[in-house]
Amino acid sequence: MDILSHLDFATAIKELTPELWQGLLIALEATVGGFLLAVILSVLIAVGRLSDSKVLKGILVVILEIVRGTPLLVQLVYMFYVVPLLISLVAQFFMPDYQFQLNPLFAGILGLGINYGCYLSEVVRAAILSIDKGQTEAALALGYTQRQALWSIVIPQATRQAIPVFGNYLIMMIKDTSLLAFITVNELLLRTQAYASQTFLTIESYTILAVAYLILSLPLSQVVRLLEKRLSKHA
């Protein structure tokens, strides 16, 4: 009962909130960068997997299995600590003292982008396959090539269909930016940890952090729901 009487949310809110704002900006940077990368990769992977090239399809399936078979946290750590070493190792064949370094946030964006890109590619692929074959045929009959029909008729419809699912992944990614704390990105979790260990306001700090994430994601879920409604109008 002693702990309860010592709770000091007032101080924690006052001191931690400005920190969280700073962390939020970084988390949003990571999300915007990571998600853009993920969307681009997802469409490219999906199109690649639907192509006629067996080699390309094989390579993509191997990459997908690796990404889906390992935890995101491990991928982030690998991207930040191991990939620069590997690049340095190769580069040192040409430039002896070369040391490659990856900015933590940039490594985080790459890690998140690749991971989410792989998952989203399944969504895009399913969406492309769900578009009626008649759409492609109508385009072909008008003189489009296969590629033109795919990119200007099928993919716009497929991405439109995929947008609500994309929205849910976007919200997941915002929350997953907390994993970037492990690769020294100074986002919300890392700042909260630092504050909590300095002040011993453990309960207060992490509760505030959790609430902050809730405040962030609840309205976004609503936006996604609205978007879903609007987009289904002319589908």
Binding site: A138, L140, A141, L142, G143, Y144, K233
Partner: protein, 256 residues
């Protein structure tokens, strides 16, 4: 005899081991209206789809205005096929309008993308053709806001806006409610009056009889009989044709 707009020579088409077309020969001349009829599974739609290479022939050739779809080495080069297709408009049973575009945008899209017209020019052409099919008031509607007959008329306008020399109709009225069939047939009839070269696959026998210069009856992947509508409908030569026409015109009669 003027040169044929479409020349089909010994066309064979198989899906796997299933042979759908068993050596079709067909010429369609400038301004001619050819109507293909036959029971389902007879290969009539497949034949039509071979005319603009939506289905690639297994063997045999299809020429449009003297140009073979296959190149000299017998391969179907995509760019070449796409270019030839711009001379042929096609209207589908299921309309296949682009759902994320309004009616006028549907008609504009290929003009801009394929014909490389400016947007203003494409819009003007699109508006003209939409007026022509009687949809001046519906230009800014999305396909989901249109009736089946209206959708099909937009689809016809979309094909016409490419200014094709030949129009193909693949059961253009089969998916329509009966009361909407007339408005689509009216547009097709107007095109016929303007001298458009057309090949139609249809189940509307009266319409076929009225509009066709030549009727082709297909069964089991081959042309059984062809001729003038009056001859073919009133005095079919082949037993199979007789049976089919009798069944379609008198569906209530018992099967012979």
């Amino acid at each position: 005899m003027p040169k044929p707009m479409i020349e089909v020579n010994q066309l064979h088409k198989s899906f796997g081991s299933l042979e759908i077309l068993k050596g079709i020969d067909l010429d369609v001349h400038q301004g001619e209206i050819v109507v293909i009829i036959g029971p389902s599974g007879s290969g009539k739609s497949t034949l039509l789809r071979c005319l603009n290479c939506l289905e690639l022939p297994t063997s045999g050739t299809v020429k449009v205005e003297g140009e073979n779809f296959a190149d000299k080495s017998g391969r179907y080069n995509e760019k070449r096929v796409a270019k030839l297709r711009t001379e042929i408009g096609m209207v589908f049973q299921s309309f296949n309008l682009f759902p994320m575009m309004t009616a006028v945008e549907n008609v504009m899209a290929a003009q801009v993308k394929i014909r490389r017209k400016s947007k203003e020019e494409a819009r003007k052409t699109a508006e003209n053709y939409l007026k022509k099919v009687g949809l001046a008031e519906r230009m800014d509607h999305y396909p989901s806001q249109l009736s089946g007959g209206q959708k099909q008329r937009v689809a016809i306008a979309r094909a016409l806006a490419m200014e094709p020399h030949i129009m193909l109709f693949d059961e253009a009225t089969s998916a329509l409610d009966p009361e909407l069939v007339g408005e689509v047939l009216k547009v097709i009839r107007e095109l016929a009056d303007e001298g458009m070269t057309m090949v139609l696959v249809t189940h509307e026998m009266r319409f076929a009889e009225e509009i066709g210069d030549r009727i082709i009856f297909m069964d089991k992947g081959a042309v059984v009989e062809e001729g003038k509508p009056s001859d073919l409908f009133n005095a079919p030569k082949h037993e199979r044709t007789k049976l089919f026409i009798n069944q379609v015109l008198h569906p209530e009669a018992e099967k012979v």
